[in-house]
Each structure stands twice: as C-alpha cells, then as structure tokens.
C-alpha cells in the first residue's frame, strides 16, 4: 500500500517539477508548486503509517501553511498583473539589474 | 508592603509557580511595543504614554526585584524555568543574581530616562518607540537569561533594531577623504547615517557569528544542554577552551567596543538619535562586556586564564587609545563615543584582572558608565537639538542660555574623569586596585594615564562649549532644558552622585555574587 502511495506522490512531484520548469504563466507555476507540496504531504502520510503519527500532524500543518502560501502567491500574481500588465513571469526579472 | 513581604515574595517565586517578576520585566516593554504597534499614528500622546508605562513597569519591576532579592542567601533567585523546545534543551529560563539585579536597575533607569529624553520626538514616533521597546526587552532579557540559547536570542533582539533606529532617525556626518584607503570613500558614504547603521550592524553580526560558533561548540561538548549552571559545571576540553574563549571575547567584545573592532562605535553613536545613543552606549555595550565575563570567563575558565594577558592588554590599549582619539575630535558626539570606547576598556580590564576588586569594579563601571554616558548623550542631544551643530570650536558661552544643561554636563564630565564623589571614581578605583593585584601589575599605569587624558579632553570640551564670551550670534534658539528633559537629567545626575557617595547600595549586590562567581573562573 505504502509503495503505491509513494509512487503516486513521486509522479505528482515530477509533474510539479515539469510544470514549474516549463510554464511561464504565473498561475500555472503556482499550481505546479501546489502539486509538489501535496506530493510531499502524501509522502508524509505514507510514512506515518510505519513511523508513527508525527507525519500526519505535520501534513495537517503543511496543508495549513500551503493555504497561507497560496494567499500570498495569488496576491503576488495580482500585483504582477497590475504592475506589468500580464502574468508572464519573465515580465518580472528585476533581480538582474 | 513590608520589606519582609517583599523578600518572601522573592523566595516564593523561586519555587515553580511563583509570579514571574523577571518575565514581567522582560515582556512589559515588548507588550508595550505591540500595543503601540496597534495604535494609529495620530495618537501621539497615547503612544508616548504607553511607552512610558512599559518602561515604568520594567523599572518598577527591577526595583522590586532588587528589594526582594535575598542578599543573605545570594545566588540565583526569582527562578523561572519553562521548556520552549524540549528536544533541543532550549528553555525559557530566567533568574537573577546580584549582578543581574544592578544591571536590571541600570537598564530600567536608562530606558525610563530615555523615553523622557525622546518625549519631544516628532517624526515617526510610533515606529521609533516600538523599536526602542523591543530593543530594551532584549537587553533586560540578556541580563537574566540562564539559558545560553535564550541569552543569544535576546542578545540578537537587542542588537538588530539598532539598524533601523540609526538608519531612519539618525543624522549624517561628513568625513574628509584621506589616508591610505582614500579610494574606499568613493564607494562608501563614510559618515552617513545609512553607512553608520550598516557598519554597526555588520560588525556586530560578525561578532555574533563568532559567539554562535563558540556556543555550539560548548553545546555539543556539554551534552546538548544550554543551561548556564550546567555549562559552568562542565569541564570543557582544553582545545575547545583555547579556541572558543577568543571567539567569545572578540564576539562579545565587538559590542563592548574592543580595539580594533570598535570603529562601529564612534560612527554609530554619532549618527544615532539621542535616546538610541543613550541606550546603546549606556546599556548595550554592557551586554558585550557582560557576555565576556558571564559566558566567556565563567564557562571557559581555562581559556580565560590563558587569554587573560591579552584581554587585559587590549583593554589597556582601549583605555588609552580611546582617550587619545577622543581628545582629537571636534564633533561633540564623537568625543563622547570615543570616551565610551575608553571607558569600556576599564570594564574589560577589570574583567581580565580575575580579582575580586577587578570584577567588582568591572560590574560597577558598567553601571557607572551606563548612567554617565546616558547623561552625556542626553545632553549632547539637547545641545545639538538647539544649536543645530555639533562642531565644538564653533560654540562657546552656552552656560548663559542653558545653565541647567551646563551644570549637568559638568557633572557628567566629572564622573567621566573619575572624580571621587561620583560613580566613575568607585568603579575606576576598584579596577585599578584589581589591576595592580593581578598577575600583570603594569596594567594599572596606562589605565591611570587614560583617566588623566579623560580629564584633559572632557574639561577642554566643557570649556569650549559652555565657558567664554558668547554664545556666538549664529546660534538663535538656544534655550535651557524643558521639563520632560529635566526629568531625565535629574534622574541620571542623582544616580551618578548617589552611586559615588554610597557605593554600598550596589556593592551589597555585586560583591557576594563576585565572591560566588570568581572561583568558577579561577578553576
């Protein structure tokens, strides 16, 4: 059982990485990040079955955090749209001065 | 409340479940900061009053702890101990010994006077008081923390707000481009307030990195404990002691203005606003010296004894070098800032003597210098605020328009040169006695010479600012201290005289604790 869950999580994680690296659309990247986060949550739950209930607590904690993260992330996207007239992340490359 | 009741309250709180007086002292400024943060900016009076209330609670709490501290029993009292991160051995562990008591009192007096001294601040008063109170909460905490991790955490809390306080409310200064490294002036705005804030923060953080390294070394070797008492009982390996002590000495020493890592101090203090200079030179620099003694010398006795010669010798350099540098300054704030470098040298010298008199003197000098320099910076702020200049040769005859300021300034100057009857004398005298008793008796002489040079430059400063005909026509709005400022000056001035005339009021706390701790450092 654990193996199945772990495999699914691994697939989800790979999908997430693929999305993050290929997408230029900010919302798409945010979605991919969420996929990766949830893959990790799945891992936590899977290991919790054998290693004790700490993992489940942690997963709940992580979900709560993810919610906060999405709020911040979406706010950033909105700001990006307002200031750069688009949600392509290459529009925001100010770090290279 | 009768004294017996207060004492019994102190004893009761040593048992688990007693009222947390020390937590109250540490958290009151923090709570006040949060409340101020929630208040709208336009409620200026409410903001000031909340700040004053926070300072008052801490000050009152410190007085209560001093009254309740059972001196016949000595040792750690008012103990509070709760786990924070159990698995790592990090605990909210506070307790007061005789040293903490006097340093709490000092911090209480300075923050109380500091709030009064910044009463008339106009720009961004809200943010200013928030940062000031957070800073002071950290300072209070360091003096009573009995957990090394907590000590370090609060130490950082005390150090970091300084960056914003100087960067936002500070004042800039021009430094002439010269010397072998003249080119760096093209890149850096030397003397500017952002520059000063950045230099101060970076140098202190570099020091913190050294402290952290030494701290982790001790943590692992002692078997995952941060408890100061347990660490003090641990026999650390010679290698660790040999390496960790200089790390702590330089790390904490940077904050205490240790030569040659002191250069943040003149620029930082000169750029900082009044109350911040008061707190920083008055209390924060003491954190550094306190750390060297309380952590460095007491936890690593072998290292301390090995390095004592260097600690004392560099301290003597500090005394002389700071005094000579101060003598050549023409900017009022720089004089006082360099004098702090010189006077902190006395503290470190007292620590390095590893004698009873030297340690008593070092702790006493922390208080004496704290009060004296607090008074100095309050006055400098006052003069600067009215004269709009800090250039001493341009001043003169200020005693006419501001007699009260002149009198207070003279008092601070006299304490600074170690006049008997002021706090400075007791401290310097004890350190000199200790230095002569120590293994390196010659330390006494350069230190004495430093005290003489102090007399030269402070009195020369007093003369050119206050004496003579004048004031020159260029100064228009010179006026004496207003009531809120006078409160600050009276408190600090009274402390200087009382501590000079009756040193017993603090010595009854300091001496038994020194007697208890010194053998730890002499193991």
């Amino acid at each position: 059982m654990t193996q199945v869950v772990l495999t699914i999580a691994a697939v989800l994680f790979a999908l997430g990485i693929y999305g993050v690296t290929t997408r230029r659309n900010a919302i798409g990247i945010l979605l991919s990040v969420e996929l990766m986060a949830n893959a990790v949550n799945l891992n936590l739950i899977a290991f919790a079955q054998t290693l004790g209930s700490d993992g489940q607590t942690f997963a709940l904690f992580s979900i709560a955090l993810t919610v906060a993260e999405v709020v911040v992330g979406l706010a950033l996207v909105v700001l990006l749209y307002r200031t750069r007239k688009g949600i392509d992340i290459d529009l925001a490359s100010d770090l290279r001065s | 409340m009768t004294p017996e009741m207060i004492v019994s309250a102190g004893q009761a709180s040593t048992a688990a479940g007693g009222f947390g007086w020390l937590s109250l002292i540490v958290l009151a400024p923090f709570v006040a900061a949060v409340i101020i943060g929630l208040l709208p900016e336009r409620f200026e009076n409410a903001i000031r009053n909340v700040a004053l209330a926070g300072a008052t609670v801490s000050f009152g709490g410190s007085v209560f702890v001093a009254l309740g501290y059972d001196r016949t029993r000595g040792g750690l009292q008012f103990v509070e101990d709760f786990p924070i991160v159990e698995s790592l051995g990090i605990r909210w562990s506070l307790a007061a010994d005789g040293w903490s008591v006097v340093l709490l009192l000092l911090t209480g007096v300075i923050i109380y006077a500091g709030v009064w001294a910044s009463w008339t601040l106009e720009s961004r008063a809200k943010e200013f008081f928030v940062l000031l109170l957070v800073l002071v909460a950290g300072v209070f905490g360091v003096f009573v923390a009995q957990d090394l991790f907590l000590f370090f955490l609060l130490y950082e809390i005390a150090v970091l707000p300084m960056y914003l306080l100087i960067g936002i409310w500070g004042s800039s200064n021009k430094v002439a481009e010269a010397g072998p490294f003249a080119l760096v002036f093209r890149v850096l705005d030397v003397g500017g307030k952002e520059y000063a804030a950045m230099k101060l923060t970076l140098m202190l953080l570099a020091g913190s990195a050294l402290i952290l390294a030494a701290m982790l070394g001790m943590y692992w070797e002692a078997g995952n404990t941060f408890n100061l008492t347990e660490l003090a009982e641990t026999e650390f390996s010679s290698t660790l002691q040999f390496l960790a002590f200089p790390a702590l000495w330089i790390g904490f020493g940077t904050l205490a203005g240790l030569f040659p890592f002191h250069t943040w101090s003149p620029d930082g203090h000169a750029a900082a606003p009044t109350a911040v200079s008061m707190l920083h030179a008055g209390v924060l620099m003491k954190l550094g010296a306190f750390g060297v003694i309380r952590i460095g010398m007491m936890l690593l006795p072998e290292g301390a004894q090995y390095w004592a010669f260097w600690v004392g010798t560099v301290a003597v350099i500090n005394v002389l070098y700071g005094a000579l540098s101060a003598m050549a300054q023409t900017d009022l704030k720089y004089i006082i800032a360099y004098s702090s470098v010189s006077h902190m040298g006395i503290v470190l010298l007292g620590a390095a003597t590893l004698t009873t008199n030297g340690w008593n003197g070092a702790i006493y000098q922390m208080v004496a210098h704290g009060v004296m320099t607090g008074l100095f910076f309050a006055l400098v702020g006052l003069v600067y605020g009215r004269a709009h200049s800090r250039y001493i040769p341009g001043m003169g005859g200020f005693v006419k328009p501001m007699p009260f300021v002149a009198a207070a300034f003279t008092l601070a100057a006299l304490s600074s040169l170690g006049l008997p009857g002021t706090a400075g004398f007791v401290a310097e005298w004890l350190v000199f006695l200790g230095a002569y008793e120590s293994a390196h008796w010659w330390w006494t002489f350069p230190a004495l010479l430093g005290a003489f040079i102090t007399a030269v430059y402070v009195l020369a400063g007093v003369r050119s600012i206050f004496y003579g005909e004048g004031p020159p026509d260029t100064f228009h709005d010179l006026e004496d201290a207003v009531d809120s400022e006078r409160i600050a000056l009276w408190i600090l001035g009274a402390c200087i005289v009382i501590l000079g005339v009756v040193p017993g009021v603090l010595m009854i706390f300091i001496d038994p604790t020194t007697a208890l701790y010194l053998p730890t450092a002499l193991r």
């Binding site: 990485i17 | 003598m327 300054q329 009873t356 009857g421 003489f452 007399a455 004496y467």
Partner: protein, 615 residues
C-alpha cells in the same frame, strides 16, 4: 557616637547640607542673599564645632577619637572606610580652616555684593562645597578619604577659579589648575594602590608605615608627586599664578591658606610614613628649597599684586616642604598654620585694595595708606608676619624651619643647599613684599587710587581678626608647641635666627632704597638678565609645548590612525565584499526558470552526495 565625633560631623556635614540644598533648590540659590546667609551660618557652626574640638584637644594632642563607617567592601571584607578622626593635628587644622573660611565668607559678602543674585548664590554654594571637602580632608581617618576630599577641593578650586566664566582667561586658568593637579594626583593614586597591595589598607599610622616595609620609599615618593601639584612646588607650580583669575577671597581661602596647604597637610598626616623614608625626604627638601628661591625670584618681577602674593605662596609652601624634608614635622606644620593666617590676611587686604581701585596692577595704586588706613595697617602687619619680623607669627615659624634645615644639614650636608635657598629666599621675600607695600600704600597716588575708600564692616572685620591672629599665632602657639608636643622650641637668639633676620633686613633695606626713596643700588643693573629669565615664564612654556606639541599631536595622530587605518581596513573589507558581490551578481538572471533549474541541480548534487556517503 562620641561628642567629638558629633562635632566633627557637624563640621563636615553642615556645609555639605547647605551645598546640596543650594544645588537642588534653584529658587533659594537665586535669592543670592539667602544662599549666602545659609552658607555663612554653616561656616559659623563649623567654627563653633572646630573651636570646641580644638579646646578639648588643647594639651591632649595624643588623644585619638575616630568614628568610621564601611565604604567599600571586597569579598565581604571592608577595604575602605569613611568617617572623622580627631586628634591633635586634625583638630588644630580644622580650627585654622574654620577661622579663615568664615573670614573669607564674610569678606566675600561685601566683595561680591555687585554680582548678579544667581551668581552670588552659586558662589556661596561652591564655598560651602569647598568647606565640606576641606573638612573631610582634614578629618580623614585614612588616606583614601583624604584623597577623595583632595580631589573634591580640586574641583571646588576649578569651579571657583572659573567663577567669572565669561572671561576666557578665567576659563583657561580653571582648566589648567585642574589638569596640573590631576596630573600630579596620579602619583597619589599610584601610591595608594601600592600601599593597598602591600598593607591591605590606606592607613597613615606607625603600624601602617611598618607594614609597608621597603615599599615606604616608593609610596611616599608617589605621594610627594601629588603634593608638588597641590602645593604648587616647582616645576608643577604654574597653575597657581593663573588661579588668581578667581575672585580674590577665593585666592585667599583656596590658593593661599587652605587648599594649597593640603599637600603639606598630607605629609603631616602621613608623617609616620614620611619619617621612615629618608630618600624621599631628601628629595622633598631639595624641591622645597628650589621652589622657595625660584618662586621668590619670580615674585620680584610681578606687577600684579595678586601674582606677587601667588608666587609668594608657592615660595612659602617651599619652606614647609623643605622643613618636612629635613625631618621636622612640627616646623613645617607650624609654618602652615601661621602662613594660613597671614597669607589670607594679605590676600583679603589686597582684595580690599582691588575692590577700591578696580585693578590688580600695582601701577594703579599708590598712596593708599591715607585713604585706607585700616587696609594699609593690616596689610603691613601681614607683610611683617610673612617676612619674619621678630615678634610676629611668621618669625617663629620661619625660624623653626631654618633650624630644622640646619639640624638636618649637620647630619646630611646636602641639606645645606635648601638651607641656603631658604635664607636667600627670606631676603627676597622681604624685598618684594615691602616693595608692594611702598608701591601700593605710599608714594604718589595714581588716578584710580585717588577715589579709593575703605570698605564696610564686612570687609574690615575679617582683616582685623586675621591681623590679630598673624601676631597672636606667634608666642602663645610656640609655647604650646613646646609644652604640649614636647618639641624643642628655641626662644634664645640662635645664629640661624640672626641670619634669617639679617636677610629680612637686607631685603627691607633694598626695598626702602629702591621703592621708598626712589634711589638706586649698585649692581641692580647687573641683575637685569636674571629678571628677564624670571619674566620669561620658561616653565610655563615648557608645559605648554608638552601639551600642544606633545599630547595634542599624539592625540591627532592616534585619531588619524583610527579614522583612516583601522577604520580604513574595515571599510576596505566592506568595499572588497561589495566589488566581489558585483561579479557574483551576474548569476542572477532574473528568469524564473533558471532559479528552478538551480534548485533542481542542488537537489541532484545533494542526493548524489548522500548516496556516496551512505555507500
């Protein structure tokens, strides 16, 4: 607590209470007269207490009444005490200080009556603070308290010299006085530190001297350095003439009668120590003799009446130091007490003159004897006492000093030098003092002197009292010294006494010939180069060079080094980091994808490393 201790505390704390009250209570201080009244009241209480003590101790000089409180502790043990110790020496000194202080405070009332009220109040606040400090010094139970009070009288001197703070010269003189004495005080601090190290205390009794053992020489030498500063001994005397910038009553009290004598008092107090230190005493005798003759020669060329008196004070202190150096404590101490009276008298009389003609310059005086007979009379009494005219107080004490040196010289021939110096200085003293008398009180009045008139009762009463003491402190006190202290006093005509008197008469003769008759003396022209040297202020200049070219230059150098080398290195490291970071910044492309690839790369490296480590 004994009655004596209570009286001692009244003497010490009375003025302190007044000073503190005036310090914290601005309104009372600014009434001026109220502040003065309080201060004078404290001085009267002090005098009453001092006289009662002196009366109880008359003939009981070996009785010691000491009350002490713990002041500093170390390891729970007391290391320093404060308190009051009353014995023959401190009781008599207390009385001398009390008399002069009261006279000066009364005199000041009239002398400074034109001052603004606030300044008048401030003056009396400091006078009270001084009286407290001086009494604490006199009654000190140990050398540490003596040192603390010693520094405090120094600060009072600083504040009172700078009383007219708007005058730049007064401000400079105040600071200079403090610096010079503070420099010398380092000697006292070092001495005390060594004494503490060796004996564990700061006592000045015979037991302490014995406990010091071989260190007694070093310790007393260190103490003597401080004495040279405080008691204006060559070459640390340069602050005393400048200190005349203060109001004249201040010069009378601090810079003639009491504060400058504190140095001599320290040696009297610590006599058990100095008694054992043969080498230090030899040095003392030489310095004392040098100062006596040097300051007297400089006094001759002064034109300012207060400067003449200032150099004269320095010279007379040289006598006291020389006597102590020769090993005769009583001679030095006796000269201290008589000098306190007649020098205070001379200063106050000079103050009365200055008050009348509004100038310090002798050229602005002349013929004042007719206008101000009382002042002239008392000034002449003071002069007669100072020059050692037989019958006056100064004669007996100066005679004792010369005797002491002669006895010393019989044991150690080196002491002939200070003896010769003191003898010549006696002649010089007589010359310059009578010169002042003739120039100020006789001859043609100058323009300013024409309108001069005698001051009120507050000005004249102190003069009369001190004049009486300048005569009366002679024979009776001498008798007491003989009977009570068992000191061998000489009422017979001794060769050395005759020599001293002859020197005095020679000086008087020269003054009469040159300044009364307006005649000339053969050989005076040949002395012109000596006069030029005396006027050149060479010592003063040497110190100024040491300060300006030495200390200031060193400070400027250190400051430059700090700003541009030490801080330059700090800045250099900052700049180096900034430049290095500029290179590294190229890594930041700003493209989101690049960062993700970097993260992935990091993960792969970590995973590979973990695999290698675990394998």
């Amino acid at each position: 607590m004994t009655t004596a201790a209570t009286l001692g505390l009244v003497a010490v704390l009375g003025p302190l209470v007044v000073a503190l009250l005036l310090a914290v209570n601005g309104p009372v201080r600014r009434t001026g007269v109220g502040a003065g009244a309080l201060s004078v009241l404290a001085a009267i209480a002090n005098l009453v207490a001092a006289l009662m003590l002196a009366n109880s101790w008359w003939g009981e000089h070996e009785l010691v009444d000491s009350t002490e409180w713990v002041w500093l502790i170390a390891n729970g043990e007391t290391i320093a005490t404060v308190g009051v110790t009353i014995d023959g020496i401190s009781a008599s000194m207390l009385a001398v200080v009390a008399v002069v202080a009261l006279c000066v405070q009364v005199f000041s009332w009239s002398y400074l009556s034109d001052e603004p009220k606030a300044d008048f109040g401030r003056y009396y606040m400091w006078q009270s603070l001084f009286l407290f400090s001086m009494n604490a010094l006199v009654l000190a139970p140990n050398l540490l308290q003596l040192f603390m009070a010693w520094e405090l009288v120094g600060v009072c001197s600083y504040l009172l010299i700078g009383y007219w703070y708007t005058k730049p010269s007064a401000a400079k003189a105040a600071v200079k006085a403090f610096w010079m004495t503070k420099l010398a005080d380092m000697g006292l601090m070092i001495g005390l530190i060594i004494q503490y190290r060796v004996t564990g205390g700061f006592g000045f009794h015979e037991a302490d001297a014995v406990a010091l053992g071989a260190s007694v020489g070093v310790v007393t030498f260190c103490y003597f350095i401080a004495v040279m500063g405080k008691s204006a001994q060559f070459p640390l005397h340069i602050w005393l003439p400048d200190a005349m910038e203060g109001p004249t009553p201040v010069s009378a009290l601090l810079h003639a009668a009491t504060m400058v004598a504190a140095g001599v008092y320290l040696m009297v107090r610590g006599w058990p120590l100095f008694d054992l230190a043969e080498d230090t005493r030899l040095f003392m005798a030489l310095i004392g003799g040098t100062t006596a003759i040097f300051a007297a020669s400089v006094a001759i060329v002064q034109t300012d009446i207060k400067k003449v008196l200032a150099y004269s004070t320095s010279s007379q202190l040289g006598y006291m130091v020389a006597a102590l150096g020769a090993g005769d404590m009583i001679a030095g101490y006796y000269h201290l007490t008589t000098h306190a009276f007649f020098k205070a008298l001379l200063f106050l009389a000079a103050g009365s003159v200055i008050h009348a003609v509004h100038s310090n310059e002798l050229s602005n005086m002349g013929g004042l004897a007719k206008k101000m007979p009382l002042t002239a009379g008392t000034f002449i009494i003071g002069t007669l006492a100072l020059t050692g005219t037989p019958g006056f107080a100064g004669f007996f004490s100066k005679d004792l000093v010369l005797e002491a040196l002669l006895h010393g010289a019989e044991r150690n021939p080196v002491l002939w030098i200070p003896l010769a110096c003191c003898l010549i200085a006696a002649g010089l003293t007589s010359y310059y003092m009578f010169k002042v008398v003739f120039l100020a009180f006789f001859g043609e009045p100058s323009e300013a002197a024409g309108h001069a008139h005698e001051g009120g009762i507050a000005l004249s009463a102190p003069l009369v009292l001190l004049a009486v003491l300048s005569i009366g402190a002679g024979i009776p006190v001498m008798g007491a010294l003989t009977s009570q202290w068992g000191h061998e006093a000489h009422f017979h005509v001794s060769p050395i006494g005759l020599a001293g008197t002859s020197a005095m008469l020679l000086g008087l003769g020269a003054a009469v010939q040159l300044h009364y008759r307006g005649g000339s003396l053969p050989g005076v022209a040949a002395l012109a180069p000596v006069g030029n040297i005396a006027r050149s202020e060479a010592v003063d200049k040497a110190w100024r060079v040491a300060y300006k070219q030495g200390l200031r230059t060193l400070a400027a150098g250190v400051s430059w080094f700090d700003r541009y080398v030490i801080d330059g290195l700090v800045n250099l490291s900052g700049v180096a980091l900034l430049l290095g970071a500029g290179r590294l910044r190229a890594v930041q492309t700003g493209k989101g994808g690049d960062y993700v690839y970097a993260v992935l790369l990091g993960v792969i490296v970590l995973a590979a490393w973990t695999a290698v480590v675990s394998a």
